[in-house]
Symmetry: C2
Subunit: 463 residues, 2 copies
């Protein structure tokens, strides 16, 4: 191990141990104190506003130099700017909003009387220590800290190196605020280097969940280098399928919204699948609507022919429509471009989606309830939508109040993840019997007891 590596490893170990200790100590603090801590954090951020914005100005200066040298995109630099629009105020409001959400911990999800005076409760509780790795936008550190604190998890945060100065100051404000509460200030820690991340990924005895928020390659590289569970989202390859029984108006509206409402989002549609019965009817209308919205179409041979053969030719046919390549159907365009193909059947559409999509969100446009039901069962994605834009796949729109991210994994949490995705549960078993309870009393034969297994009606428990 290099000297830097050894240093990072020692520092990571100290940080991780401190996080676990803080987590364990926090379990004895009532959850109302976590809400108070969020209000303290908001106040401290307000107090430290001048300092934080000064640090942000340094990050922006450094970024400007990178942009001038052609090493950073202008759009990335813009995302760093905490003074832009209402970003600062909405960051603060976000803390208050999270504080006001219902407590996801302490909820009973199973309660059963195993025997007289022997009661089992499954109670929601935090996961433990989270390692959250995110890119550019510095305000994410505040958002994630708020979610972690609200759900009772300790967190170690690593932002993009471009926002380093800002993140350090934001995290200092968070720690200053925590120091005024019964929650240890090492509950939320920020780290700065990739070497520390690498070292932390080894420490599965202290870190319980890694949440990478960023590119597909970031997520996979982390999955490849740790035993710790990873909750990431791989990518967003969403499809809209226009069924044989699609209403033409709905088809156009939903396809255009799915593609153009926010093309850079993971829940934007990247592929349009057209039933062959629609090639000369609905498809030209939908294509026209997409072209009117300035969308580029990458078409398979049949959908391309169908457009070429109509007269008058659709506007922008020559500039915005071209033949697709196989890779286009596995590409997250994240821009005003959509890949298009024709299929002979609903089954073929589902097979294409299951083979090519990222199992994020896929939509069928149809008036046929039986086709809708088959699509919803047969498409193996986190979201299966009927006559509704893929853009609805979002924690706020789903009614969760906030969103940790959108998981394309298939265990623990799938789709938009709210605070519920940051908790697990523990089983509490309490005997009130005069002799306590032992297993040896149960079984078959004379004098042995049988389990009662009577459900208990209980919604929450203070423990």
């Amino acid at each position: 191990m290099s000297q830097t590596g050894a240093l990072a490893s020692e520092s990571a170990s100290t940080i991780a141990r401190a996080a676990k200790t803080a987590f364990e100590a926090s379990q004895l603090v009532p959850s109302s104190e976590r809400v108070n801590a969020l209000h303290e954090i908001r106040r401290e951020l307000e107090n430290a506003k001048a300092e934080i914005l000064e640090a942000n100005r340094k990050d922006l200066q450094a970024a400007q130099a990178e942009v001038d040298a052609g090493r950073m995109a202008q759009s990335l630099m813009k995302r760093l700017d905490l003074t832009k629009g209402d970003k600062w105020d909405s960051m603060l409001q976000g803390v208050t909003d999270v504080a006001d959400l219902p407590d996801p911990t302490g909820k009973i999800t199973y309660a059963c009387e195993l025997d007289d005076d022997l009661e089992l409760y499954r109670v929601s509780c935090p996961i433990g220590v989270l390692l959250v790795i995110f890119e550019a936008r510095p305000e994410v550190v505040v958002n994630i800290a708020a979610l972690a604190i609200k759900s009772g998890n300790a967190a170690i945060l690593k932002g993009g190196k471009e926002s380093n100065e800002t993140v350090q100051l934001l995290s200092k404000a968070i720690q200053t605020a925590l120091a005024k509460t019964p929650i240890p200030n090492t509950y939320i820690q920020a780290i700065q280097t990739r070497a520390e991340v690498s070292a932390l990924l080894e420490l599965d005895q202290y870190i319980d969940l890694v949440i990478p928020r960023g590119s597909n390659s970031l997520v996979r590289s982390i999955q490849n280098s740790t035993r710790i569970p990873v909750m990431g989202h791989a990518d967003g390859l969403c499809a809209v399928y226009l069924d044989q029984a699609a209403d033409a108006e709905k088809a156009a509206r939903i396809t255009v919204d799915s593609k153009t409402d926010y093309p850079a989002a993971c829940n934007a549609a990247e592929t349009l699948i057209v039933h062959e019965a629609l090639l000369s009817t609905t498809w030209p209308k939908v294509a026209r609507a997409l072209l009117d919205a300035d969308v580029h179409l990458l078409c398979d041979q049949r959908t391309l022919s169908a457009l070429s053969s109509i007269s008058p030719a659709p506007p922008k046919l020559s500039t915005h429509v071209r033949p697709s390549k196989p890779d286009d159907y596995r590409t997250e365009h994240l821009s005003l471009t959509i890949s298009v193909l024709a299929v002979p059947s609903l089954a073929a559409a589902m097979a294409h989606i299951n083979a090519h999509s990222s199992h994020h969100t896929d939509c069928i446009v149809t008036e046929d309830t039986s086709a809708a039901s088959i699509f919803c069962r047969g498409v193996d994605s986190a979201g299966t939508f009927v006559n509704a834009s893929t853009r609805f796949a979002d924690g706020f729109r789903y009614g969760f109040g906030t969103e940790v991210g959108i998981s394309t994994g298939r265990i623990h949490a799938r789709g938009p993840v709210g605070l519920e995705g940051l908790v697990i549960y523990k089983y509490m078993l309490r005997s009130k019997g005069p002799n306590g309870h032992i297993v040896g009393e149960f079984g078959v034969g004379a004098g042995k007891k049988q389990y009662k297994h009577v459900k208990i009606d209980a919604a929450s428990v203070l423990f």
Copy 2:
């Protein structure tokens, strides 16, 4: 890659693709067919009983040769024997029992009206393709297949090489039975070699969850070599803590049951923690009860002195009691041995448990409800028990009807895992509106709609 490696990789890829295809096809089959399939499997196992037991005889013969050559433990060989006791009949009964359990899929866990005519449902559904790796006992293949089918997951199973002949025949019977149903027979497949397992661990596009059932080292080695999520149980280092306010009778009963009811189980106690106030009172009584049950005690200096200083000396003091070493407190004895230490406080007991236990199940014996509550919150384990034996940590005893395993992980499923641990959910969004639903209609400003977010009362949906 070696030629064997390349072959295994090709075979693994074929198997994994077939499993995923079978899984996808099965999503269109009603869940009642999965129950029928379980009944078919039981019938086919009965039909093939002679063949299967003949294969089992071959495995046993080969195992006997290994035992004779000193390369296999007699106890391991015994676990292979399908004819032993009522093993065959209870294996068959297990299939029927699983068939009779409630369907874990199709349950609605969240339902919300986002807008007029726009309804969101979160519906429980299978995870996908499971890779289950287990050791010796061949009947596990039938048990796991039943659980996978009931929960709607496809499965690839790898048994111990000692039970290879038996597992092949059991799995052939399962596939024969599936061929009589609408469920593809590649829904359940058995593999034979470690090379195939290694190759499958690479295929995260087809395999969704790995479930290793076996030793701690098996679980960790798998976690180290795959991007696929792993649901395993690391080990069972459970503790009983005798609080200052412990009742002496309960202390003895619960400690003895936790240690001796089934010492080889993961929920057996391995550590006894004694509050120092009990050293000359309750502790000698508990020690006597343990010694009477033939338990060996590995004691720290204070608990050892306390025993040595009483007169008359406890029986077996010289043969069954010796000083402990630090490693003993991290050892899963799995035998009639327990490590013992004294602590000055409840906080010290919790700190010891959080630092040493495997976060499986830990128990406090106390009459003090406040100490009980602090213990249950502060001990970071899947099970925190009050005055009840650690041996209650079990899916059957908890009332789940069956058990996939006991998870010491902290995401998805924790503690004893029933059928619920084999499902996840998907979000179904249905618009019944005259124009479908698009996101562009919502927002701030004139003419924009607001989300309603009205909870819908719905328990289950056929989709």
